[in-house]
């Protein structure tokens, strides 16, 4: 009894305001989440580094210096130098511009298109589902890299086209993930109840189906972000991505494979990728927790 009444009292006072800005509430939630805070800070740090690369970088990322080839990390070159004597730290800083762009934009594109396609297929079902999912299966049957190569080859090599290609390659994965979940959620009574109210299918999908799916989509996209960097490096390696001498993390890694003894050439770009993906993961986790805090 005392439990009930004390709960009633807490319910009574300090009522939150009726409609607070959802985005603001979510952000506040993420930053009061310890791991989310760490992830968020790292991401912000990386973005600042990318934006200020020309200011912070100790050397030009392009200047070839034959007197400092394959130097290990030292006070002069913190992260060492590559096979052409270029400073690796500077190249990582400049490389983050392209790498972060590729990661963010290709995954965002794949997420939006893939989720929309998956929602429609899963919710409407029937022949719409069949048609969409067969196309998706068709895309999935290509190895991702081959498909990306074909797309870039058709569009012409550039950063933008690499982003488009990586987005397209990832669409089927998101569509499959979302569709599978939607098919399960569609059976819930609250979806039926929403239909019974007389809601349009678009509104129903957005307000009643999507919120249950978005948690796993967010987590999945942080995993996909890492893959996007690797795919980009493969494209760059084949001369179809970012054009040299512009660095990207991926292309630095693939060059480093030829210089196995110079561990710093692969370790530092690798660490950059690792750090970014870890931060994204933490942020994604926090985001899911905050969005789900209302349910559990």
């Amino acid at each position: 009894m005392s439990v009930i009444s004390s709960k009633a009292v807490t319910l009574g006072k300090a009522e939150p305001k009726r409609r607070q800005n959802r985005l603001l509430m979510t952000l506040r939630g993420v930053f009061s989440h310890r791991l989310g805070m760490i992830g968020g800070t790292v991401i912000v740090f990386l973005v600042i580094c990318a934006l200020l690369a020309s200011v912070i970088a100790p050397y030009s990322p392009f200047t070839i210096n034959y007197t400092a080839i394959l130097k290990p990390p030292s006070l002069e070159y913190w992260f060492g130098t590559d096979e052409l004597g270029r400073d690796i730290l500077s190249r990582i800083l400049y490389g983050s511009q392209a790498s972060l762009q590729v990661m963010a934009m290709s995954i965002a594109g794949a997420l939006v298109i893939g989720s929309a396609v998956g929602l429609v297929a899963g919710y409407l079902g029937g022949w719409v589902d069949e048609v969409i999912m067969r196309v998706v299966d068709g895309l999935l049957s290509f190895p991702a890299i081959v498909l990306a190569l074909a797309i870039v080859a058709a569009l012409g090599p550039s950063l933008t086209n690499a982003i488009i290609a990586i987005a397209v390659v990832n669409v089927p994965d998101f569509a499959r993930l979302v569709r599978g979940q939607v098919v399960a959620i569609r059976r819930y009574e609250y979806v039926q109840a929403a239909k019974a109210i007389g809601m349009s299918p678009a509104r129903l999908m957005w307000r009643h189906v999507w919120p249950s799916v978005r948690g796993s989509v967010i987590i999945y996209s942080t995993l996909k972000a890492a893959q996007a960097i690797i795919t980009e490096s493969a494209l760059s390696f084949l001369g179809l991505g970012v054009q040299p001498p512009w660095p990207t993390w991926g292309s630095m890694l693939s060059t480093a494979m030829r210089y196995g003894d110079s561990w710093w050439m692969s370790v530092f770009p690798g660490l950059a990728i690792f750090l970014t993906v870890l931060a994204l993961n933490l942020l994604g986790d926090a985001l899911r927790d905050v969005l789900d805090a209302t349910t559990n």
Partner: protein
């Protein structure tokens, strides 16, 4: 005797179908679900969830559908507001066949009909505050124009169902089952519907809460003049709330009768068996308990003739021959049984 009651005084006791008085008429409704076989070829296997169901619901009455699980009552309830499309037959709502409405017309018509689901844990979207869940109904039908107006109406609705208006900013998981069902009811009545399907609205709740929710439903029905189809397997609940009762077995209606008549003198052998299964504190009566043998037959291969014959203590050979039609046996009752000699 019953005919002596002047029209308009009581809704009970009317049995002549009065076209002005009927809100919902169900005509020869069937629902078959295809069963996907292992074979590549389309199989002709179907589950007959609802078969040749006919009845009409008058304005203002509570029409109760009872039956065991698997009898098709939930499927029927969902078809009444077209959450499921019937495979065959017509569902006339206020004189209009719902199946003839296009998507947009149907969405508009949904303002007039609502449903309360059995499980208040799955019928509320966990990602939406209570206020948004209820307010959404008002928005969809353009009932309130401004946000302030909407919030005011949501608060009123919450108070109508016995919750504090401050609860509108909370999420469903913060409430008990009974409170959730109140929220679901507030949502169902938000657009001021005329017709409500209540699909076992209390069977998922604690016994202590059931009565409160039933009373709430009764009160709302009286104050809003609701017409209801109340689906239940709990005969005590039905006796409390219903005006008329329809008994379903394996997708077919066995008997329709006024509630008092049904409980005092059930006619159909299945109704009798159902009622005798209700526990009674009376020792003399409990002796007469009639236990049905076997399970409800598979809806994929229902028995020929009367679907109940495999478990009926009074079955004769002729029962396998024809499907007994639901026939008027008196002014206030219909029954589907060929053994008229029993039905006295």
């Amino acid at each position: 005797m019953l005919y002596a009651v002047p029209a308009g005084l009581s809704l009970r006791g009317w049995n002549m179908p009065d076209q002005f008085n009927v809100l919902l008429e169900v005509r020869n409704v069937r629902k078959f679900f295809g069963v996907r076989g292992k074979s590549v070829l389309p199989t002709a296997k179907y589950v007959q969830a609802v078969n040749e169901v006919n009845f009409s619901v008058r304005r203002g009455e509570v029409f109760s559908v009872v039956g065991e699980s698997g009898s098709g009552k939930t499927t029927l309830g969902q078809m009444l507001i077209r959450l499921l499309d019937p495979s065959d037959g017509e569902i006339m709502f206020d004189g209009v066949d719902l199946m003839t409405l296009d998507d947009q017309q149907m969405r508009r018509a949904r303002k007039r009909m609502q449903i309360i689901f059995q499980d208040p844990y799955s019928s509320l979207n966990p990602y939406m505050t209570v206020g948004d869940a209820i307010g959404e109904v008002l928005e969809v039908h353009g009932i309130t124009k401004t946000t302030a107006e909407r919030d005011q109406r949501v608060d009123d609705l919450l108070e109508t169902v016995g919750l504090r208006s401050a609860t509108s900013v909370r999420y469903p998981h913060e409430f008990s089952g009974g409170q959730r069902q109140r929220i679901a009811i507030a949502r169902a009545i938000a657009a001021n519907p005329e017709f409500l399907v209540a699909d076992e609205p209390v069977s998922a709740l604690d016994v202590s809460v059931q009565a409160q929710i039933l009373n709430l439903i009764s009160d709302l029905r009286a104050s809003m003049g609701l017409t209801m189809v109340f689906i239940s397997h709990d005969l005590a609940v039905v006796r409390h709330i219903a005006d008329r009762v329809a008994v379903m077995y394996l997708g077919r209606i066995m008997e329709i009768a006024d509630v008092d008549e049904f409980f005092d003198r059930p006619l159909h052998p299945y109704s009798q068996a159902l009622l005798s299964a209700v526990p009674t504190p009376d020792i003399r009566r409990s002796k007469q308990r009639q236990v049905l043998s076997g399970e409800i037959a598979s809806p994929m291969s229902p028995p020929s003739g009367c679907v109940f014959r495999t478990r009926c203590p009074h079955a004769i050979e002729a029962c396998a021959g024809v499907v007994p039609p639901l026939e008027l046996k008196s002014a206030t009752r219909s029954s589907a049984c060929i053994r008229d000699d029993l039905l006295k």
